[in-house]
């Protein structure tokens, strides 16, 4: 492998932004996976598609409208789910299809802007700007600080809502906070893997890490390490072989999952 690629400034930005997103998706994703909300990231990503289309139509930077639409729809669907007692998977299906439907209608009304949409669907990490990188780092920093500060409340309400309530934890507020953070994380990550593959970064490193049979903090660290490894190697390999970074990143993450399953089946990992 030629080390020359590591001297390009666009590659520096891609790797810095990619590592930040990898850590963010892994940490926020762990709470979603443990709450059986694995596809929630996917649903928010699809709703962000409507937001992106809206931004392109209105001539506003599409990620801003994507943030607004994704966060709003994630919070609204959570409220509707609680109020009308709709199951988690059904509410995810509603959110997912409404986002795509809104996006398609707006694209139809505007006469189409397929080239811009394509980069949002599949990611464009090598094109990430300095401003984008700063924004990604800032949002990652803020969300990680919030998670560290509210670590006990987040973990406890994920483990058992009823007991958390009895311990005086404001479980409903914590639930909305997780959904809010998931909305921000998804839109921030769109530049790395695109709308269609986001849930892979939320789910695969975490499912892999959980198999190692460790406690919460160690599981989070293992998941982050796998996530960062997949993103860094994925970006470099895809550049060298001129293939899509998003697909490569996700395939490497799946490779790590398969290897872990192999270790577990062979008895090298403790059974849980």
């Amino acid at each position: 492998m030629s080390l020359e690629i590591l001297t390009f400034s666009f590659m520096h930005r891609a790797l810095i932004a990619g590592i930040a997103i990898a850590i963010l998706c892994s940490v926020v994703g762990l709470f979603l996976v443990l709450r059986r909300y694995s596809l929630f990231g996917d649903a928010i990503a699809h709703s962000s598609f409507g937001g992106i289309a809206l931004g392109l139509l209105a001539g506003v930077y599409p990620l801003w409208t994507a943030y607004a639409v994704s966060i709003a729809s994630a919070l609204i669907i959570t409220k509707i789910k609680d109020r009308y007692n709709i199951s988690g998977d059904a509410s995810i299906a509603v959110l997912l299809s409404s986002g795509i439907a809104v996006g398609l209608v707006i694209i139809g009304l505007s006469g189409g802007f397929t080239i811009d949409i394509f980069s949002f669907l599949f990611g464009s990490i090598l094109l990430v700007s300095v401003d984008d990188t700063v924004l990604i780092l800032a949002l990652t920093g803020v969300i990680l600080i919030v998670i560290l500060l509210l670590y006990r409340q987040l973990l406890y309400s994920t483990f058992n809502e009823e007991q958390a309530k009895v311990s005086g934890i404001p479980v409903e507020k914590i639930n909305y906070l997780i959904v809010f953070m998931a909305g921000i994380t998804v839109v921030t990550s769109i530049q790395l893997v695109g709308v269609l593959l986001i849930s892979a970064l939320f789910v695969i490193p975490n499912v892999t890490a959980i198999m190692y049979g460790k406690g919460f903090k160690q599981t989070a660290i293992i998941s982050m390490s796998f996530s960062v490894f997949s993103v860094v190697v994925g970006i470099l390999v895809s550049y060298i072989f001129d293939i899509t970074p998003a697909g490569t990143i996700v395939l490497i993450a799946i490779g790590l999952l398969a290897a872990t399953m192999g270790l577990k089946s062979s008895g090298l990992l403790s059974k849980n």
Binding site: R152, F159, E162, K217, T219
Partner: protein, 240 residues
């Protein structure tokens, strides 16, 4: 005698059934109260109301002389052990992680080791909770409930589905908590014999409270015990 819990005229009406009807009850500091009653007697509804999980009730519940609808401060003095905690078997938390969840101040980290040793589960501290037996898990949840030095411990049928050896150990732990550490215990159970051996007060619930007093009074009155057993049996039959 200091009143820690005072329940007055508690009535809970669900859309199709009345779960509790005009229940009044006082628990004093140091009491070991066994709440007995057949399935559907309202024990879980009573606990849910006391813990602030059900707020749709008539009447009043006071902890330490404060109405729980006005202040949630009492939760700091309370440890709760649920019937059979529901969690994913693969949930990535160790015994230490679970006990730490109960800890209100992170500075009290040493307390975790202390409580794990006290309950003979220190050697399990790095094991995942889902790997443990039902009896061991229940001790972990007791440890979590105790880690903040609560004044009151509330246990909702805590030995459901647990082997006899673990049950005996569990009961000896409860006895010690009450007698040595002076923790007030409110405990619901199906097991009349266990209540007879452990509790110093008994509340007999079947939507209404048909007995509340010292356990000696209850268990020495054959008529009362028979009345309770018959009510239980009837309920049992109607469920089958």
């Amino acid at each position: 005698m200091l009143k820690v819990v005072e329940i007055s005229n508690l009535t809970v009406q669900y859309p199709d059934v009345k779960a509790l009807d005009d229940v009044s009850l006082v628990v004093n500091q140091g009491d070991f109260l066994g709440i007995i009653g057949p399935n559907g007697a309202g024990k879980s509804t009573l606990f849910a109301s006391m813990l602030g999980l059900n707020t749709r009730y008539k009447g009043m519940i006071k902890f330490f002389d404060e109405d729980i609808k006005k202040s949630k401060n009492y939760l700091k003095e309370l440890g709760y052990v649920p019937q059979k905690p529901i969690f994913e078997k693969n949930f990535p938390v160790t015994v230490t992680d679970v006990v730490r969840m109960g800890l209100r101040k992170e500075s009290d980290e040493n307390k975790i080791d202390e409580i794990l040793q006290q309950l003979w589960i220190h050697e399990l501290r790095e094991r995942r909770i889902g790997e443990l037996s039902g009896g061991q898990q229940q001790r972990v949840f007791i440890a979590k409930a105790l880690v903040n030095n609560p004044k009151i411990l509330i246990l909702d049928e805590p030995v459901t589905g647990i082997d006899q050896q673990s049950i005996d150990l569990f009961y000896s732990i409860l006895r010690e908590l009450n007698s040595k550490q002076k923790i007030t215990i409110i405990w619901s159970s199906h097991d009349l014999d266990a209540v007879n051996k452990l509790a110093n007060h008994v509340a007999c619930l079947n939507k209404t409270l048909f007995f509340h007093g010292e356990s000696e009074t209850f268990f020495s009155d054959d008529k009362l015990v028979k009345q309770y057993s018959e009510a239980s049996m009837q309920e049992h039959m109607s469920h089958h």
